[in-house]
């Protein structure tokens, strides 16, 4: 009587694997890797100025009691241009935004800001992506919400769309 039951074991195992596959197909991996630094203090950095009319950016410039955004962007990045109006809107709403320009050149950054507007208080030039890596960011654009004590509260991967703006404002409010 033992043998007949045993013969169905492969089918049962196979069905389990099928269910696993089906579950995974139904919920595909988003492939987004969040920074491990969320909830921790900003890493220490000191970047030179990336634009001719904005000061340089140091980690000590961030976290003076007021929450703010750190936006990782580049003049060569198309989604960053698409994101610019939303950043301008946030700026008009009174949000402080610092920029980190990745693998960029000062003349290119100036041209980019002239064309798409300049929402930034300070802009640091991260010529070899070292600060970007230290932040746990893997692409442009990305935006970090930093609370008043200089801790990373949230990470927004990809460009900020128009319907993301209220969410970002809420996150800034909560990080106060």
């Amino acid at each position: 009587m033992k043998r007949p039951l045993l013969l169905w074991v492969p089918l049962v195992a196979f069905v389990a694997v099928l269910l696993l596959f089906a579950g995974r197909l139904a919920n595909p991996d988003d492939r987004v890797v969040q920074s491990r630094l969320i909830g921790q203090a900003l890493p220490v950095f000191d970047l030179p100025a990336a634009a001719s009319d904005r000061p340089a950016l140091r980690s000590t410039d961030i976290g003076g009691g007021k929450p703010r955004l750190v936006n990782i962007f580049a003049s060569w990045c198309l989604p960053c241009a698409a994101e610019a109006p939303q950043l301008m809107a946030l700026r008009r709403a009174g949000v402080e935004i610092d920029g980190i320009a990745i693998r960029d050149a000062r003349a290119d950054v100036d041209a980019f800001l002239k064309k798409h507007g300049n929402p930034y208080t300070r802009i640091g030039l991260d010529a070899r992506s070292t600060v970007q890596m230290a932040l746990g960011s893997s692409g442009v654009p990305e935006t970090f919400v930093i609370d008043g004590r200089g801790k990373i509260a949230h990470q927004h991967i990809g460009d900020i769309r128009a319907d993301d703006v209220p969410k970002v404002l809420k996150q800034l409010e909560a990080a106060r």
Binding site: L7, P10, L18, F21, D29
Partner: protein
């Protein structure tokens, strides 16, 4: 016009597959015996139609007909003709068309040449083959039409992924597909035998050539893929336990087990249910592999047409065929009578051990490949890599090698332990000697697995030659030669793997033109770096003069930039010597004027692939030997 003709041929072939299934089902179980006579011509016509359809696709690629969507998105008019040709199957739709074509041709061959099998099992096999083909036709026609038109037609096309623009890779995927399809034929035989409850030696003899052929092709495909990854990806490794590599390894492991169990069934009429089970597992592993690769549910370097809709389709096919086969197995195999029995010390039980070990290794690879999926279902992201596979599968593979040395020296049915001990005495002494020598020389500097691998390779190589001992070599049957060469190939390959992990010397330098680098007995003079241009790429090429003692050779590693689509690849420079390979990769510019150079000296690494080729050659010899004997028997019967 060509595209439409190809599509019509494909539809007709699908209709014939349906007809083939209906005719054989009605003939076998509907009592309409006269219908069975039509099954064979239908199967042959179906094969011809799929071939026409595939030729149409190849013609479209060769003519760079950009009004066809598939050509426009995977080819480019500026591409060398070989890659236009290979481009026909270097994409999802084309490769599926190749799959059904090979399946159609294999079905035609089963219909034409199979004579020894009972008629009802033969017809049930063709019905199974038609049922599998139908699923793939539906997949092609409803979700992956290779002949879809594009309007307006672009001027040039998108190009083929540059990593794939390599002569080795043009033929690597089709070789694997041929292997997978061969396993589908074995699967159909198993279904046929289950349906008619005729699991016996005749069935095993009918199935064996397909299993052998599939296994040879899988061996070649894996060997070629491994060498391609070795020289094209520029990491200096030859196996990465990447999900896609595992997807090709798992069917191979199952096919290797099946190959041995089918021999037991054909020779001794034992292991009936087990052989049927293995045939189902082998084909299901090729389907699971295809699913994992095409659905994109696992992250891999082989991003291949990731598309959830296609994934769902393959998953549905997997559920229907494999689920159906396993249900049939559970339902029917109880009715299959137990075959001949054997003693504990016998060749049969060595082969049972071989099957168990292979299946455990298969299970280890399968679990390792699926583990990230399982944990992610519970919210953890992990990746499983070489440390797990090496440590868990490695020792078992070594045990399997030892068993492989002993198994062929045993007699069928029963043998005496004392006599066996005598036969393996020489290799056993060699094993102890090489272990002692290696422990004295390499303890502490060589890892445990490579050390054991080295110690085992030589005695196993010697033992694998033992079946030829005291035999007239000219009168030894070809299939015995095949076994000996394949087993020797395993030992050779193992020696290569062990040498590579034990003795490889790696050096990473930042060098300026004019610098001289010394490593592992080689002197490399970095002469210059200059841009050069090829057909559809430009590259930075380093000219390096390499010498070991006398006789300098120029080697030229490149960092290649393809414009269509824009991608950078590294073309490693390989210098092959009898005792190893020098492997040089040109990396990025480190800082002003200095370039990263990665240099490896890999002693005896080429043995890995030489062994792979020997294994495949052994399979070919066994196939020819078995078939020739089969024909001779038939001929002699005809005389009498």
């Amino acid at each position: 016009m060509i595209a439409e003709a190809g599509l019509i041929a494909l539809w007709l072939a699908a209709a014939l597959a349906f007809l083939q299934l209906a005719l054989s089902a009605l003939g076998l179980w509907g009592g309409k015996d006269e219908l069975l006579g039509a099954v064979r011509p239908v199967a042959v016509t179906q094969g011809v139609l799929t071939a026409i359809s595939f030729c149409a696709l190849v013609a479209l690629f060769l003519r760079s007909d950009m009004s066809v969507l598939l050509v426009a998105s995977n080819s480019h008019s500026a591409k060398p003709w070989l890659y236009k040709f290979a481009g026909a199957w270097g994409n999802h739709e084309g490769s599926m068309l190749l799959w059904v074509t090979v399946m159609g041709l294999a079905g035609a061959a089963v219909a034409l040449f199979e004579r020894a099998l009972r008629r009802d099992t033969h017809m049930a096999t063709l019905a199974g083959q038609a049922a599998i083909s139908l699923g793939f036709y539906a997949f092609l026609l409803f979700s992956s039409n290779p002949f879809a038109r594009l309007s307006p037609a672009p001027a040039n096309g998108q190009g083929l992924n540059p990593l794939l623009q390599d002569p080795g890779l043009a033929f690597h995927p089709p070789t694997l597909y041929l292997g997978y399809v061969g396993l589908s034929v074995a699967f159909s035989f198993a279904i046929g035998a289950l349906l008619t409850r005729r699991v016996d030696a005749a069935f095993a003899r009918a199935m064996r050539p397909w299993v052998l052929a599939a296994w040879v092709l899988l061996t070649l495909g894996i060997t070629a893929g491994s060498y391609w990854a070795y020289y094209e990806l520029g990491w200096g490794g030859w196996w990465f336990w990447d999900p896609v590599e595992n997807a090709s390894l798992m069917p191979w492991l199952a096919a290797t087990a099946l190959l041995h169990s089918v021999t037991v069934l054909a020779t001794r009429d034992s292991l009936r249910a087990w052989t049927v089970m293995l045939a189902v597992i082998a084909f299901s592993m090729s389907m699971v592999g295809t699913f994992l690769v095409r659905s994109g549910i696992l992250t891999s370097v082989h991003a291949f047409a990731v598309d959830p809709e296609r994934g769902s389709f393959i998953l549905a096919l997997l559920a229907i065929y494999i689920g159906g086969a396993l249900a049939l197995f559970g339902w029917r195999v109880g009715a299959v009578r137990e075959g001949a029995t054997f003693r504990t010390v016998s060749r049969e039980s060595a082969l049972v051990m071989n099957n168990l070990l292979l299946c455990v290794i298969l299970g280890i690879v399968l679990i390792g490949t699926l583990y990230p999926l399982m944990t992610e279902a519970f919210g953890h992201k992990v990746s499983v890599g070489a440390p797990y596979f090496d440590r868990v599968a490695g020792p078992l593979a070594l045990a399997l090698m030892l068993l492989m040395a002993v198994g062929p020296l045993l007699r069928w049915r029963q043998d005496q332990a004392r006599v066996v001990a005598k036969r393996v005495a020489v290799p056993a002494v060699l094993l102890v000697l090489s272990l002692v020598v290696l422990l004295m020389v390499g303890a502490g500097t060589i890892g445990v697995l490579p050390l054991l691998g080295l110690a085992i390779a030589i005695p196993v190589g010697v033992a694998s030659l033992a079946p030829l001992w005291k035999r007239n070599l000219l009168r030894t049957p070809l299939f015995t030669w095949g076994m000996v060469i394949a087993h020797l190939g395993c030992a050779v390959s193992l020696a290569g793997m062990a040498c590579d992990s034990a003795f490889t010397v790696e050096k990473l330098v930042a060098a300026r033109p004019g610098d001289t680098i010394r490593t592992a007995g080689w002197t490399l003079h970095f002469e210059r770096i200059a841009p050069i241009a090829g057909d559809n790429w430009t590259a930075l090429q380093a000219d390096i003069r390499a010498s070991r003692g006398g006789g300098a050779v120029m080697i030229k590693p490149q960092s290649r930039f393809f414009t269509l689509p824009p991608t950078t690849t590294s073309e490693a420079a390989l210098l092959t010597r009898w005792n190893g390979q020098l492997y040089v990769v040109l990396g990025q510019e480190a800082d002003a004027g200095r370039w990263q150079l990665r240099i490896w000296w890999k002693p005896f690494v080429t043995l890995i692939w030489l062994g792979g080729i020997m294994i495949a050659l052994g399979g070919v010899l066994a196939l020819i030997g078995r078939e020739r004997r089969g024909w001779r028997h038939k001929w002699q019967k005809g005389e009498a």
